[in-house]
Symmetry: C2
Subunit: 598 residues, 2 copies
Amino acid sequence: MEEFHINILNIAAVLLSAYMGGLLIRKIGYPAILGELLIGIILGPSMLGFLEYTESIKVLSEIGIILLMVYIGMEIDFHDLKKASWPGLLAAIGGFFVPFVLGYFTIVAYGGTPISGLFVAIAIGVTSLATKSRILIDLKLLNTRIAYVLMAGALISDTLALVIFSGITNFAETNVVSIKELLIISSKILAFFGVTIAVGSFLLPRLGTYISKSKINNSTTFFTLILIVTFGYCELAELAGMHSILGAFMAGLFLKGNLFPKNVSKELNKAFYDVSIGFMAPVFFVSAGFFVDVSVFRTDLGLLLLITGLAIVGKIVGTALFYLPSRNGWREGLTIGTGMNGRGAVEIIIAEIGLGMGIIDKTIFSILVFMAIFTTLTVPVLLSWTTNWLRKRGELVYMDQRNGVLILGVNPLSLLLAKYFAKKQPVTLIDNNLELVTQAQEQGFSCIHGNALNEDVLAESSPENIALFMGLTANGQVNLRAGELLHKSFLVPGIFVAVSEPESKIGDEVLQKSNAQILFSSSVVMDDWAHKITHHEVSESSAAIKDEIAADKWMRRSGISDNFLPVLIENDEGMMRPFHADDLLSPGEKVIMLQQVK
Amino acid sequence: MEEFHINILNIAAVLLSAYMGGLLIRKIGYPAILGELLIGIILGPSMLGFLEYTESIKVLSEIGIILLMVYIGMEIDFHDLKKASWPGLLAAIGGFFVPFVLGYFTIVAYGGTPISGLFVAIAIGVTSLATKSRILIDLKLLNTRIAYVLMAGALISDTLALVIFSGITNFAETNVVSIKELLIISSKILAFFGVTIAVGSFLLPRLGTYISKSKINNSTTFFTLILIVTFGYCELAELAGMHSILGAFMAGLFLKGNLFPKNVSKELNKAFYDVSIGFMAPVFFVSAGFFVDVSVFRTDLGLLLLITGLAIVGKIVGTALFYLPSRNGWREGLTIGTGMNGRGAVEIIIAEIGLGMGIIDKTIFSILVFMAIFTTLTVPVLLSWTTNWLRKRGELVYMDQRNGVLILGVNPLSLLLAKYFAKKQPVTLIDNNLELVTQAQEQGFSCIHGNALNEDVLAESSPENIALFMGLTANGQVNLRAGELLHKSFLVPGIFVAVSEPESKIGDEVLQKSNAQILFSSSVVMDDWAHKITHHEVSESSAAIKDEIAADKWMRRSGISDNFLPVLIENDEGMMRPFHADDLLSPGEKVIMLQQVK
């Protein structure tokens, strides 16, 4: 064995830089990848030279790209497509091909080869998927049509980009293409997709079932198997003359839900996320910054501005144009365009592959990296403008499919609230005490028996139709975690929980994670009130609202004492929502309260 | 960027080989590492040449060693030491130094350099820690004194080996040592331990607290930070002239429980386990096999047999000899010796470092690898002999500290069982329904309010004193998972659960994972009986046992009808245990049953 030392200081420094870069940029609302690229440019060989591109960084980033592509594939959920497949397809096609065509001709006009033009074209065409949901939550867009179109659009756009990319890499190495070669290449590509789809749809599910039933059923086994399948798919892609990232992407698409059983998929996903997003992918993005030549600002400023401009204008206008047949209006089209304007992981990976294969030079590579940075910078700003514009015009369309109410915990208070909601909305309760479940069912409620922290149990409640979740068990932590699950896994927009500790002790980040609102002031009150309801010491009353007023202000003004518990707000159409201190009460609404009578 | 391709096929093949090797060897009861080494020898360059030692395999194994050492450090729990620190120390010292001295003089006598002698001596001295608990469970030794001594002994022995190793690597590169150099080296080592301990005890907890309170509190952040701290510690070790694995080991010792909060430590541990044990460490062990020269069986068979023989005899006899002052008897000493005879991860890592530094040659390296394989092969065989021997002589000492009973779920049946147990043992109940908790407390039981799937809640029950857990909620999955947690995290020896599905549907592997026994025949019965107890339709009766008989056979013979529910077995000292079909009833014992009276 030859003496071999990995440069540990350099790995530590790269990881620390990635972490700090990601942290700082997230503080101002941008995705971590941006900070990682920037810190790589600043601390790497291109500027300060603190960080080195060593062998171990090379290996880690190459494997990091593969794991990242698996993760991107795993994150794609074809169910997302269903709700907005037609407008999503329009947005994706317009947002991809318009900048694609503009990018191609610009490069060729500037004297680039057709193949480098195609690389740049793809890089300009893609849309970043990973950063979407964060921004959607921040801008409170989760339940709007825009959100569904953006998710479907980004998904289709990335898949499109990767399929076209799979064709291009095959031609990259030959300049003259005969009909015969074309046939060979096409059949190779078809064979790749045929084999990976067949293995993914038929072999992996059977392997998964076999392993789940055998004694080796533990999530580490599945972790190892995921890696084996991934590297196997990568090798298949290379055998078909394509880049290994395509294999990784296909592996990601098929691994989730096929190979491994539902009960381990969450912790597996977490472990995979930690390794890729928490370790290797940041190494890749920092090291991508190493190859950026900052002098392009001096030498090729014109081309840089042109490419960035075309990327932005092409994406937004292209999306809006192709979006017209959806009949959702050109303003919504522009909004979708601003939302899809970011370039992220896939763009940087494609640019890096182009540089590695010698298809694009360092100048073009640097321009593409800066283009990714600039376009991503525009997203929160432009998207917040356009959505506010739509909101003001009353054109922000909410998806109204969700109208169900899910209540966790059967107790006197929750049954009382359920009765109110049941007037207008379907209500489901959930509890893990069989006796209480029976009790709720006897009162005519749909009630699920099971542990609400188990995703499979939650899935029984048709969570895709739930608009409002109320966690009303005595255990605040259970309420919070169930809320987090419903928010994260099933995108339930309204999460309301009763907690046993004071709000300050729970911490903002926990609430933010589940997007939860706290019900009542403290759960001591809740237990008391439940007791009072059981012993018929409570009457129900309501107060009409005359002027728009914040809920907490209203409580102070009306002198609501401890003898009252405001629980619901009813609007003029009879729709209910839970009362909480941050709400805004409007004229015509009623606050429904419990009042102690003894 | 230079063109750079990682050989993906080779990575896939190495991982697949590691997986298959580990799988096959585990089927016959040995630790995965053995199969990984063997498959590396067979499929690698030493024999068939299917697998290659590429750059990426190099990087992955080097990082794999580091992550593995962190994991080994994280697994060390100083609480394990408390119960057997004195006998454990004796066993560790004897088991380490006797083979150490024998190994050193053998190598020097065979013409090796003193420094190579020291390397071999350490490799022979170490004890494998990772494989212990599995074997202890298989041989049903978990609650014996042997188990505690083995765990404490292996822990001390590994720490000892690494501390001595940290001294040796410093001297490895200089042959002549002056007093001045000696002082410099010693102060470097002291400085390393000083700095790492100071940072670990003071800085990391503060950093952890800061992060937990901040908004960046998520487990992926902690995963990244663990890696940064790890590589930082590795760099410190290298600055002090030691090998980076020592830094990784120290990082592991301090990271757990210091840097990150309890609530994320479980999923972090899991992610870390997946990456190290499920990905990189197997790559390392397979690749360690690549450097084995199988011709040593022809060329150096004598030395191979001598070293292996000394390792086995030295370890067993050395342990037994030094164990005498513990006054636990020489037979227990020999048993401990056979249990500590395995060599595992640490030995292979040390041998590989020695080979990499050129201190030992390929022949000695190969001998050390085969020694690790042979000694590990002896453990289950010899330990099962010696423990059976002790068992037959009645000298297998059980640790009697544990005598608590923990019952999950407050209901009529569990309260009835609790009353029986409470005659002789401390009983704790646990439930997440506050009303039921109050009810149990009113009846005089210690009862914890909370979610039993939360380790922090379980920790409140002093699980280290619990000998018996009964899961009696209506939710069989909750019972099973709580049992699994108590078994895995707190080593509770007796796990009994009531389940709602038929036993066949739960599957053996789930039961094995938690080492659980199923109570009663099905939970439908349990709910019925709870109902009957509430409505006073039940009387309690008991049946005396005359001859030794299997419990299920006894049930058939006595014609126990559905009107009876055997719940407990009472021995002649009045100690209770739960009744279950696989138990063996002895003369003088009584079966306590519920009988339906209406």
